[in-house]
């Protein structure tokens, strides 16, 4: 028999659990919009629980600011489980903070210590202009994908999914590249603000699979051209992107992209010429 009992005592319990014992100083980049210049502003984050995620800690600070009639800190976020790629933040000199292989929404306050000063900045790259405070405009990434990050098939395919045999190792390798969440940490980590890890992940995914072959060499050229047009820098093989990528996308993707790009330029000029028309 199911009954409904009063669980208010437990709700009270939850309130108490949120009162943590960490007190932090935040140095946060505040900037009204892309046209104005910004500056660091310091805030106190008090009674923070180590179980909070980094974004939940910012929620607490924002609630306090709202109560005081001040403007809350603006930052991008959505799924809060590390897959949508919307959250960002350059925390103490690292995109998505000091832990490897996680996004900011999965970073918990137990990673920091009581009394610490935490510096929080937006992604810094001229191709990612600041929208407000910690949020930046990553539409350049969408435009690169629009330039060729697809297989040209219309809805209504009638070929059976199993008509195409794909070796497991190839499918798995393509999947590894396809896990990129498009957050932009690779660009933020790179001293040249290069987007090559991001671009090469899509080129590798489709370049490995049989479905991607017909457009393989035109795709790499059009995506790279768009990448250049957006103002991203070039790769100098530092590897910071791989180290900071929350999905641990490998540097080998860039090697594959370079290989395809060179092949296209040196040996496949005719096909590319045709592809443009």
């Amino acid at each position: 028999m199911y009954l409904i009992l009063d669980t208010n005592y437990l709700i009270q319990n939850l309130k108490e659990m949120s009162n943590g014992n960490m007190n932090l100083t935040l140095k946060v980049w505040r900037q009204k919009n892309a046209q104005t210049s910004g500056k660091f502003v310091s805030y106190k984050a008090e009674n923070i629980s180590p179980d909070m995620s980094f974004l939940e800690m910012l929620d607490v600070v924002n609630e306090g600011l709202t109560h005081k009639g001040d403007e809350p800190i603006n930052f991008d976020h959505d799924c809060r489980e590390g897959i949508c790629g919307m959250c960002s933040l350059y925390i103490n000199g690292h995109p998505h903070g000091p832990k490897r292989g996680v996004t900011t929404c999965q970073l918990h306050m137990r990673t920091f210590h009581d009394g610490e000063t935490i510096t929080i900045e937006p992604w810094r790259a001229s191709a990612f202009p600041v929208v407000k405070d910690l949020a930046v405009d990553r539409s350049a990434f969408d435009r690169i994908q629009q330039a060729g990050g697809y297989v040209s098939v219309n809805t209504g395919v009638t070929t059976d999914g199993n008509a195409l045999l794909i070796p497991k190792v190839i499918a798995d390798e393509a999947f590894n590249s396809a896990t990129c969440i498009g957050c932009g940490a690779c660009v933020a980590a790179c001293k040249n603000a290069s987007a090559m890890l991001f671009v090469s992940a899509k080129i590798t995914q489709l370049g490995l699979l049989p479905q991607g072959q017909p457009e393989r060499y035109s795709r790499v050229q059009s995506m790279v051209a768009q990448m250049d047009e957006e103002g991203f820098g070039s790769c100098t093989n530092t590897g910071a992107c791989e180290a900071e990528c929350p999905k641990e996308i490998k540097l080998t993707n860039i090697a594959r992209m370079n290989n395809d790009f060179l092949s296209a330029k040196l040996f496949r000029e005719e096909e590319i010429h045709e592809a443009k028309h």
């Binding site: 319990n13 659990m17 976020h77 949508c84 919307m86 999914g161």
Partner: protein, 644 residues
């Protein structure tokens, strides 16, 4: 107005084919004279926008995120069902249809579900062609896994990130059409109202979330692909931004809302750690294959566990209550989602909850590790264990996981007919946003299937019929209806911005969540629901007096966005309670304590409640009017579920 579901006649299996032939077509040269508005870019929205643009229509697509790729479909883990029968294990279109109807506890429309099962096979072919890296076997063939509520292996998957891969496939198709100039994409743009002219939807009013500009967009039809409303509970597995606003504003303009009380609660989520918590994270259903669910036998031991004076592994075998195994010996830990969830809640209410908050029970792998070895368990569930460690800082190889149910999906949504049209002609609802295919409970791996089915394979056909009938006469925003709707939107925003009280929108949201979870969650009573109605009405009045909304309209303003969404959630919450009060039976995820079998299972009342509840908005603070669509079952026989 009487509800006409426009179900085609003839034998169930032939209906969709016959209907496709009967639908009017728009000739290729005329398609470019039509403008279509698509709101939302998840599986349903991105698939619809891309497919319609490929056909030649001009599409305008909208999302509130910074990129269409962020839509919450991306977070779906498990997989997507399709009746391919690649495993030669007896699957068929009819079996997928049957499992879905039964899983939905006989509260879905047969014709829609059969069509869903039919097109499921096309979805896999389409996604493979796009380059979606599904899991493969060593021979190169597509791999399948099993899922709850079915006895065949028909689930296609891409590791634990199937939603991500399918969405990126649809996103790539959308990108191709953006590049071709057939789709114009509006990101960081929130739809705030539907514009109707002579009863037909002819456009939307949006707010540019960067500049605050309130803009009108005209089109021959509007497609809402805006997802579900689980966030009415404050804490859910949905993204923070997921909201009901687009659907709710459409409802207030005349679109009926179907079965709002049908919500799904997933039994195995990581428990809440405090009032600060902003969302819940799911742990895959597959863990119940090897994990054993238990709670301490006595309140005293639970108290010690909550305080941390003893650890779970110190609790003696005799002091543990493996309550699912005890109550359901046949199914044990693998009872369906709703049953597992309700039992965990019962333990907590008896004072036997564990973890710091008391809102949790254990999911223990000690026996599995003893039987299979830690390495085998790691190989099977390693990524889930890692995720658990990440969030809780506890090691589930040493101590049992703590789990608790969380709201995960909403089966209810805008009422649509067989063509996916709402009760406003020209306004369509696709994916989780509509009510149509899952009845009172959704089976695992069926949400992705429905979103893509609606977007790729249903709407491209059914929309053409409507467009051919209304003709390609240009619609533009010069009609006074656009200006009038815009005025309403601006007035609503100004009313929100004028709120300079003492409580943030977030605080109201949390209170609403407590009310909904307590009285309209896993178990519902007449008394509790009536109490909830009063509490929600009081909360609404208080919100419009005492809320604080920061900043101004002409800038990026998360506080304003949030407040608008919470105001709509509060109104939806009241309708959910009304719907739950009206439905005096239990079915699927809707459990009325007054209607249960001797074993404590959901007891349906087919005689009085075999209908879809479609609610009509009658004006601010007026009771909504109930319309009933009787459900007719021709192919399946209604029966009582039993898992003991």
């Amino acid at each position: 107005m009487s509800l006409d579901a426009k179900i085609p006649e003839g034998p169930l299996a032939d209906r969709w084919n016959k209907h496709k032939f009967d639908l009017k077509l728009v000739n290729p040269a005329n398609k470019r004279k039509y403008d279509i508005i698509v709101v939302g870019t998840g599986l349903a929205g991105a698939a619809a926008a891309a497919s319609l643009a490929e056909l030649g229509y001009n599409v305008k697509a909208f999302c509130f995120q910074d990129s269409p790729r962020r839509a919450h479909s991306i977070a779906a883990q498990g997989g997507i069902n399709a009746a391919k029968n690649y495993q030669n294990d007896g699957d068929s279109v009819f079996r997928l249809f049957y499992d879905t109807i039964k899983g939905g506890d006989y509260r879905a429309r047969e014709s829609n579900v059969h069509r869903l099962a039919e097109v499921s096979v096309n979805i896999i072919d389409q996604c493979v062609a796009q380059g979606v890296p599904f899991a493969r076997e060593y021979g190169g063939l597509l791999d399948n896994r099993s899922f709850g509520g079915s006895q065949v292996s028909r689930t296609f998957y891409a590791r634990g990130q199937t939603g991500q891969q399918l969405l990126l496939g649809a996103y790539s198709a959308l990108n191709r059409q953006i590049h071709a100039g057939k789709v114009k994409m509006y990101t960081r743009t929130e739809m705030l109202d539907v514009v109707t002219i002579d009863g037909h939807a002819k456009g939307i009013v949006t707010r540019n979330m960067l500049t605050g500009a309130i803009e009108s967009h005209a089109g021959h039809a509007v497609l809402l692909c805006t997802g579900g409303y689980s966030n009415v509970f404050y804490l859910s597995t949905n993204a923070i931004g997921s909201n009901v606003t687009a659907a709710w504003r459409a409802h207030k303009r005349g679109a009926y809302f179907g079965n709002p009380c049908y919500t799904q609660i997933h039994p195995t989520c990581i428990p809440v750690t405090g009032d600060h918590q902003s969302k819940l994270t799911l742990m895959s259903e597959s863990l119940r294959n090897d994990g054993r669910v238990w709670a301490p036998k006595t309140v005293e031991i639970a108290e010690q566990l909550r305080k941390g004076t003893i650890k779970a592994d110190q609790v003696k075998e005799d002091d543990r209550d493996y309550f699912l195994e005890r109550k359901y010996p046949a199914f044990g830990n693998l009872v369906p989602r709703d049953v597992a969830s309700r039992n965990a809640k019962e333990m907590v209410e008896e004072g036997k909850g564990v973890g710091g908050s008391g809102f949790a029970v254990f999911l223990d792998f000690a026996d599995a590790i003893k039987r299979l070895g830690e390495d085998t368990v790691r190989a099977k569930y390693g990524n889930l264990f890692d995720m658990y460690i990440q969030i809780t800082d506890e090691n589930p190889y040493k101590q049992p996981m703590r789990i608790y149910p969380a709201v995960h999906y909403t089966m209810g949504g805008l009422w649509v007919d067989y063509n996916l049209s709402t009760t406003i002609p020209g306004l369509y609802a696709l994916g989780e946003c509509n009510f149509s295919d899952h009845g009172a409970n959704r089976l695992g791996a069926s949400a992705l299937m429905q979103g893509l089915s609606d977007g790729y394979f249903v709407i491209p056909y059914t929309l053409g019929d409507y467009l051919a009938k209304i003709g390609p006469k240009k619609v533009d925003t010069s009609h006074p209806a656009f200006e009038a709707t815009k005025k309403d939107v601006i007035a609503h925003i100004n009313k929100l911005l004028a709120l300079k009280g003492t409580k943030t929108a977030n605080e109201y949201h949390r209170e609403l969540g407590h009310i909904m979870w307590e009285y309209c969650g896993m178990a519902r009573t007449d008394e509790g629901l009536k109490k909830a109605k009063g509490l929600i009405q009081a909360l609404k009045a208080d919100f419009w007096k005492n809320a604080i909304v920061a900043g101004e309209n002409e800038e990026v303003n998360a506080s304003l966005e949030r407040a608008g969404r919470i105001a709509d959630f509060i109104e939806l919450g009241e309708l959910m309670v009304d719907d739950a009060l009206m439905r005096k039976e239990s079915c699927g995820g809707h459990f009325r304590v007054e209607s249960q079998t001797a074993d404590g299972e959901a007891l349906r009342d087919d005689e009085n409640f075999a209908f879809v509840a479609a609610w009509e908005f009658k004006g601010e603070d007026q009771p909504e009017e109930l319309h009933k669509e009787e459900l007719v079952f021709e192919a399946v026989h209604l029966s009582q579920r039993n898992y003991a």
